[in-house]
């Protein structure tokens, strides 16, 4: 009994996560029985389809393509967000200057952006550009907030010690902003994946391997099972990234 209590205490969080997952599958299973339509397959049928898709090489190429483009978009957005966010954090006038642009990027209908870009750009570029448009503001704001929320006593100390230059950015400001930045990275990767796949669905191309193109193809045939199966693949990928980032945060002792 004491061992059981200790086990539960140690693995409380994973147990509750597991129970939460079971609950989701239970809900899905029950609602699929109630709806009783091939247009709303249950978890068992979907997972059978998923395993069939995992036996197909095209699925892995599509995953690599989608994740690859999403990571390229993230990298571009991170670098630009870091540069502009840092400048905006240091110089208030620059932050104010960029406010209209950030607002537009935040509120621009993503689907409209896809439809405009697809006629202008090569197939691989549209998902990358659209994803950048969505996640750049998140990274940018994280850097701005991180820098602006460095505590006053620290800033005062820096001023007194004459440490307000380049080095202080990497030694003081960046570590102090780490929690904002890590949170933004986690949010960006999940959102980036969603947006990237959406762009691929709206503008599929035979020239590039993508999860979105596969989903679009199945949609044209009104096949919901594979659509759900591909969605599960996307969820698993983001979950893996999420867990990896969580472990990194723990190791670096970032809150």
């Amino acid at each position: 009994m004491i061992k059981l209590k200790a086990f539960f205490k140690k693995f409380k969080n994973p147990i509750f996560v597991f129970l939460g997952l079971l609950f989701i599958f239970f809900l899905w299973f029950v609602t699929s029985l109630l709806v009783n339509s091939t247009l709303y397959p249950g978890p068992i049928d979907t997972f059978v389809e998923l395993f069939a898709l995992l036996g197909n090489g095209e699925t892995y190429l599509a995953v690599l393509g989608t994740v690859g483009r999403m990571l390229i978009a993230f990298a571009i957005s991170f670098v630009l967000g870091a540069i502009f966010g840092t400048l905006a954090g240091y110089f208030k006038w620059f932050h104010t200057f960029l406010k209209p642009l950030i607002l537009i990027l935040r509120t621009l209908p993503t689907a409209a952006a896809v439809l405009i870009l697809v006629v202008l750009l090569k197939p691989a570029m549209t998902p990358i550009i659209v994803t950048c448009l969505v996640i750049f503001p998140i990274i940018y704001e994280a850097f701005v907030s991180g820098i602006n929320n460095v505590e006053e006593p620290i800033i005062d100390s820096l001023k007194i010690d004459g440490g307000t230059g380049f080095k202080s950015y990497f030694k003081i400001y960046l570590p102090a902003s780490a929690s904002y930045i890590i949170l933004a990275v986690v949010q960006s990767l999940g959102l980036g994946m969603k947006v990237s796949i959406m762009a691929e669905i709206l503008a599929p191309s035979e020239r590039i391997a993508s999860l979105g193109r596969l989903i679009n193809y199945e949609y044209q045939l009104a096949e919901i099972k594979p659509i759900l199966a591909y969605s599960i693949i996307a969820i698993v990928i983001i979950s893996i990234i999420d867990i990896a980032l969580h472990i990194i945060r723990k190791k670096l002792k970032i809150k």
Binding site: S37, L39, V119, E206, R207, Q220, L221, A222
Partner: protein, 329 residues
Amino acid sequence: MENQSTKLFMKTNKILFSTLAIFGLASCSTPENFTIRTISPTGAPTIAFYDKGLDTTNFVTSTGPLVLAEFQKGDYEAIAYDSTTALSKLPTYSTDYKFVKLLTGGNLYLTSINKDANAMPTSDDIVVGFQKQGVPGKVFQKLMDDYWNLDATIEWAGDAATAKAVLETGKYNGIDVDYVFMAQPALQTVLANTSIEHDIKVIKNIKEEWKSFTGQDAIPQAGLFVKQSSYDAHKTEYNQYFDYVDANLELALTNPIAIKESIESQIPNAQQQGARYGYPAAVMAKVQQNGNNGFGVVDPDTTYGMNEINAFLTALGEETISEQYFLVK
């Protein structure tokens, strides 16, 4: 106080009883009105229902995937959809839709951009097709490989609307395009666009090419499907419905101007016509006039059933369809 409550209770009961009695009598005396509700993708098949422009209850138009999904939902008595695609999916569905007749049988064309008359694609050319996995794409690929023996690069757009945009701009995903595989009535809309600067030529009628290649009179495209169980229960209504569709198809072949006038009287605005049918009435008339039959409307007097569809599928190297998916009259 008690007296008032009792009175209210008695009054409520009287009203309730009277209402129930009225409903009871009504259900005994009113005959069931059976209507055949149809759903179709926009485009050529809607010509068979041209007079239903304002009847959005009994004739619904939607996008291809949503129409295909209706085969699984079973909400509509009749569905118009790409015949071979629907027939290949019917075995996986629990509903009992069956193929009745072909509505359109070949409205596909090969066009060139800035090329000499009748010049065919070479290995250096970029050709844009659409619906790679559907009938248009399969027929086009077959002709390219086994009839014309051409080696050009084919880029595949998802649908006819995207192919139309390619023909209008001359570009696909940023690259210059030399040939576009297109369908009517979208093709006519592009040809009528005077702001397009590049030269577009229609070089091949795919239906005629297919006939030369295989001897088959049609490329089965939109077909009409109804539920067998519903047909068995309402044969008179369904047979009247089939006669109605035949009459409309006949008119589309013999007098498309009458159809144009009917559409315009229902929906005067050309843009709204496009939203409802997939084409403005004037474009339809131009495509259909003088016996051109650009929509590929199938003559209602010709038989195009299981044998013909299976012959077509065999020519494509595809599996044939069992007779159980064709309506038993």
